[in-house]
Structure formats: structure tokens, C-alpha cells
Symmetry: C2
Subunit: 192 residues, 2 copies
Amino acid sequence: MSVQERKERERAGRERLIVATAREIAEQQGWDAVTTRRLAERIEYSQPVLYSHFRGKREIIGAVALEGAAEMAAAVRAAAAAADGPRARVTALARAYLDFAESHPAVYDAMFLLDGGLVFAKEDTPEPLKDAFAALLESLGEVAGDGVHPGVFTEVFWSALHGLATLARSGRLPPEYAERRTELLVDRLAVV
Amino acid sequence: MSVQERKERERAGRERLIVATAREIAEQQGWDAVTTRRLAERIEYSQPVLYSHFRGKREIIGAVALEGAAEMAAAVRAAAAAADGPRARVTALARAYLDFAESHPAVYDAMFLLDGGLVFAKEDTPEPLKDAFAALLESLGEVAGDGVHPGVFTEVFWSALHGLATLARSGRLPPEYAERRTELLVDRLAVV
DNA sequence: TCGTCTGTCTAGCGGTGATAGGATCGGGTC
DNA sequence: GACCCGATCCTATCACCGCTAGACAGACGA
């Protein structure tokens, strides 16, 4: 069975290559530039090979999104762990989230803007997505306030961050007030 | 000069038809279904005619966005006017905003998700967009709180609403808590 | 009535995501 | 060692996309 195992290894390696390359192109030139032809050329295979790994372009976006969710969860947890006290943790979390969105726009889009065919907020939601939400919940649950459902509070806080991130990035919010907006959001939403 | 005037009237009418039809297709089947070919067929002209009115598909999206901004401003103002007191006005505003986003998804996308080539948050921002922001500011400025810049507060509140609207609509937030999220947001952000 | 000129159309460019079907290459069997 | 067969990959193609060049016709002013 060694031959088959080697083939599976190679196949898995190529799949990782596809996802990594798609992400690379997307970060450099935007998702519009991630065409099946360009992607195939970069990995030095023909176009149809992509379809033996993924059902279509949507699934490739979804794969990038899952990768990104794990990274974002780690970034958020690291930022929170480095801060002292609930209030400081929330500030650090907000900054980490917005930083991630700004510095990894393509991955962020794959997660929260584009359709990657992923299921959110259900039982069969992929683990990385659940875990990313859990990472937010860990710090935000502390400041939800009495009688407020931590999950619902996290949803609201997350939505606000998402709005700030996307509207700012698309030029719909003036960049000069970014820091003041973040501070105001934390001030008002978090119950210390 | 009557002939020329008639021609200009007809031309303006056709331009309105293009925008209205684009919007119609988008609301029914999504923006992906708004192709220049389909759009041209629906208005019973050939494809290149679109390009004598708009520089490209992006500008058509922009035109729909401007229409939508005017409508949203009116909806928000109407909701606020029907409420008594600053706090009630903000609640009404939030509901009106989220209702608009949910019931006019294509127009909402044209305004805040897609690239319609419009300039936001600058001096040369189109009037309808400025006015839509002003409509939010009118009610939200009342509850910004002391020492908080009303514009910045409006940006934060708007971002939160935008996050709720888009994440909910794409299935990334569980629908059953929608009302609780809205209440929580207003409770925390608005200073009565 | 006759040129001109505006306006519209047909046809086509280079690109997209996705797929059908033929060629090829390697492993397993005799 | 020879052969067969199945998995694997590629070429070629489909229908469609946004956009544009250039031919054509019809209405206008002289």
C-alpha cells in the first residue's frame, strides 16, 4: 500500500499548493485575478486538475477561508493573552481583528465577504470557523454585562468590527478617525 | 431646439430605464445575473447602447447605488420622524436601516458592498450619499454623548448596523437572535 | 434634394468558469 | 519480461462575460 500512500501524499501536497497559490495571487492582485487559468499555470498543471481537488472556484475560496480562520483565531488569542484585565483584552482583541483584516484583505474577504460555500453559525459549521468565533467569545464574554447572552454580545461586537473593517477598507469611512472609532466602540460596548 | 430637447428627454428616459432594469434584475436574481447582454435585451436595445450612457457596468451599479441612497435616507428619516424622543428615534432608525438592507439586498449591495466607482466620505462625494449619511447623523447625533464627535459616533453606529446587516444576510449570524442584537446595540451605543 | 452626421447595430476581441473525451503512464498480473 | 487496464492528466471546447471597432441607416440642416 506504499504506492497508494505516496500518491495520496502527493495529492494532498498539490491541494495545499493550490490553496496557497490562490491565496498568494489574491493577496497580491485581488480575488478577481484568481482565475482558474492563472492558478493552473502557476502550479504548473492544467486547468482541469483544479476540478479534481475542488468542485469549483467557490470551494477554493472556502479552503482559503478555513486557513484564514485558524490564523485569525490565533492572532486574536495571542493579542488577548498579552493584555492585562478584561478591558485591555477587549481593546487588544479589537485592534488585532482590525489589523488582521487590513493586512490580510484577501483572506478576510474569503472568510466574511465572498461566498466560499461554507456554513456559518450551525451545528455542521467547520471547526476552524467555530473556533474563530470561540476565540472572540473568550475575551468578549467577560465584558458582555449582566443578563446579556455572551454569544449574542459577541455577535454584536463582531458585527461592529466587521462593519468598521469593511467600510474602512473600501474607502467608505475616512481613515483619519479609525483609532477614535475603535476606542469609542470598545468604550460603549464593553461593560467593565 | 425642440427636436434636440425631445431627443434629450428620450435619452434621459432610456437612461432611467437602464438603471431601473438593472436594479430589477439584481433584486430578482442577484447582481451576477446583471450582464450587459441580459440588460440590453430587456431594454430592447443592443449591448453597445449601454456604453453610450455609462462608462461600464460599474457606473450602472453606481447609478443604482445613488438611487438607493436617496430612498434609504427617506426611509430612515420617516422612521425617525414617527418616533418620540431621542432613544426611540435611534431604535426606529436601526430597525429601518436593517429592514431596508433586508428588503432591498441588491440596492444595499450596490451602495455598500460592490464597487460602483463612487467616492465616499470626501468633499466630492455625490449628494445622495452625503444626504444618506446626514439622515443617520440627524438622529444619531442626539445620542452621541458628551465630548463625542457626532460624525465619528455616526460612523461607528453605521458600521455596526452594516456589519449586522451583511453578516446576517449572508447567513453568518443566526437569524433567531436578530432582534436581541439590535436591542443590545442600541442599548449600549446610544447615550440617553 | 442632397450631403452630413448622429445614433444604433452586427460582429468580434480576449477573457471567464467549467467539462468532455482522448492520450499516456504506471502498477498489478500472468 | 510482456501485457493489460485503470487512474490521471491534458487538449480542445462550450457558453458566457465585459467591452469595442466599424459598418450602416435614418434624420437632420443647408
